[in-house]
Amino acid sequence: MAFRSNASATIPATNPLRPLFWRKAQNRLVQTISVIALILAIGAMLWILGTIFSRGGDALSWAFLTNPSKPYGLPNNGIANALLGTLMITTTASAIAIPIALAAGIGLSEFGKQSRFANLMRFCINVMMGVPSILIGLFVYILWVVPQKSFSGFAGAIALAILMIPVITRTTEDMLRMVSDHLREAALALGCSRYQMIVQIVCKSARNGLVSGILLAVARVAGETAPLLFTALFANTWPREFFSNPTANIPVLITESTTNSPFEAMHQIGWGAALVIALIVLLINIVAKTCFREPKK
């Protein structure tokens, strides 16, 4: 391999032009810079989290969580309807995406292997994972909102489901691939059908990885905003008509109360909502990473 020869060529231990002092100084310099880089990255994270917690914490109260959102000026403004809407949209999206994505992952890992169809689909999934979420919003707008003639929470759920499918499919395939072939052969040798082998043996032994993959995908779409702008939109009402009318949700509530409002009180609502959604997303992430730790590679 090429780097070996290069590496040996660039290590002139006795080169008088590169005294040890200079090399050590260089090393120190780079190490300092990279520590600074790390501090910058971590510091920025703490700064962002700190701002959300301090500003959002001021807004947070029981009334804030249980009152529905209202236009500026009315008393008892809250986020309860948006919280419920986000919950409904995310749950529906999961209900659509998880079965399809699991089956697709199984198809790729157990039935596809190296066939041309499977490779093509893998490529499509990679492409889908890179498609900006706002374009999925446009897509669902044409696909669902225009024919239904109305924005709806369900349209938002479809958009989020489309975002989830490639992510879950990819992790499912990776996780199932990690299951040793001995298990598969042993199950088949005992007389299992392929269905039993896959569902009861392979999926079961990869269970933790699958659950954590699903949770991470849910966490990723729970805070998505861009596709919801074109699908679920927003409403200051309880999400009663999930299938036919705009549905309140937290991410769009944040956008509405910060960019489209000059009032400090509305900004406060936005910070509170940001804290709530950040807590939900971080919590799901932490649960996925600690309770359902991926098997060591």
Binding site: M128, F139, S193
Partner: protein, 291 residues
């Protein structure tokens, strides 16, 4: 026995159909966006890509400002984030295991924060800060613009790039590193000559990931970019990106303007598609070289 065979083949077919759904969505996305934007392409032709006008009153539209804004913010964000991410990844690989584990989790969590929160933080914290900083330098700006958008984007893509780089750097054989240390390399020389060469793939992988995320990011950019449909003359001026234009104008758009917005979406899709194809070819090429 027959029942089992039936169950097996049904299961197989269901799984393969679901696999096909992923492909179908990709194709449908391209087809839908193309057909929805056909009016714009018919009206303006290729001129749409080169025109800088944007006038809803006379119904004349051009995509160039949005395209340039997208490329500019993405490029600048990568320029800021790449070196930072590489140094962070190096530090994470070199640090003691316990510390590196905690820091890795921290950076992973940073990647999980919804982008709308980054945008909000940029709007209320970063932009006023930039405004004051430049005010001290006696430069008059409101803080919103290319620089603010790039900084926020850089912060957003940093954890992604860093995670990819860290994973690939970790795969450097310990033997190589030990050999380099053994002949007297300083840690930085070891990093430069061993990790960097072995991890060239990591760098490129990180670039592709970062590019993909930064190109299509909407919310974080929308809050801080200024949303002026013009080609910016300097980094402190407001501009727009494709995704921000979409989010801003879609609600009021009708007819031709909506079609133009779909055309913008198609352009963005083709950009990300191109990056994916490049990444795919690149990975295949490196796989062949190794195999």
């Amino acid at each position: 026995m027959k029942r089992i065979n039936f169950l097996d083949s049904t299961f197989r077919n269901v799984c393969l159909i679901c696999t096909g759904v992923c492909g179908a969505i990709t194709v449908a996305l391209v087809v839908q966006l193309s057909s929805a934007s056909s009016e714009a392409w018919h009206t303006f032709g290729w001129g749409l890509l080169l025109s800088t006008e944007w006038d809803p009153v006379t119904n004349v539209y051009g995509a160039l400002p949005a395209i340039i804004g997208t490329l500019l913010t993405t490029g600048l964000a990568l320029f800021i984030a790449l070196p930072l991410a590489f140094l962070c990844a190096l530090q994470l690989v070199e640090a003691p295991p316990a510390l590196s584990k905690i820091l890795s989790h921290g950076i992973d969590l940073l990647a999980a924060i919804p982008s709308v929160i980054y945008g909000m933080w940029g709007l209320f914290i970063l932009c006023p800060l930039l405004q004051e900083a430049f005010w001290l330098l006696e430069i008059d700006t409101n803080g919103f613009g290319v620089l603010a958008a790039s900084l926020i984007l850089a912060l957003m893509i940093l954890p992604y790039i860093c995670a990819v780089m860290r994973d690939v750097l970790k795969m450097t054989p310990a033997l190589l590193k030990e050999a380099a240390m053994g002949v007297g390399c300083t840690p930085w020389e070891c990093a430069r000559d061993i990790f960097l060469r072995h991890g060239a793939k990591a760098l490129l992988g990180g670039i592709f990931i970062g590019l993909g995320r930064a190109l299509g990011e909407t919310m974080a950019v929308l809050f801080v970019v200024g949303n002026i449909i013009e080609i910016p003359s300097n980094l402190l001026e407001g501009c727009t990106t494709i995704s921000a234009t979409l989010a801003n104008n879609f609600a009021e758009a009708e007819g031709l303007q909506q079609s133009v917005l779909f055309a913008l979406g198609l352009i963005l899709l083709l950009m990300t598609f191109g990056i994916q194809v490049l990444a795919h070819c690149y990975l295949r090429k490196t796989a062949q070289m190794k195999g």
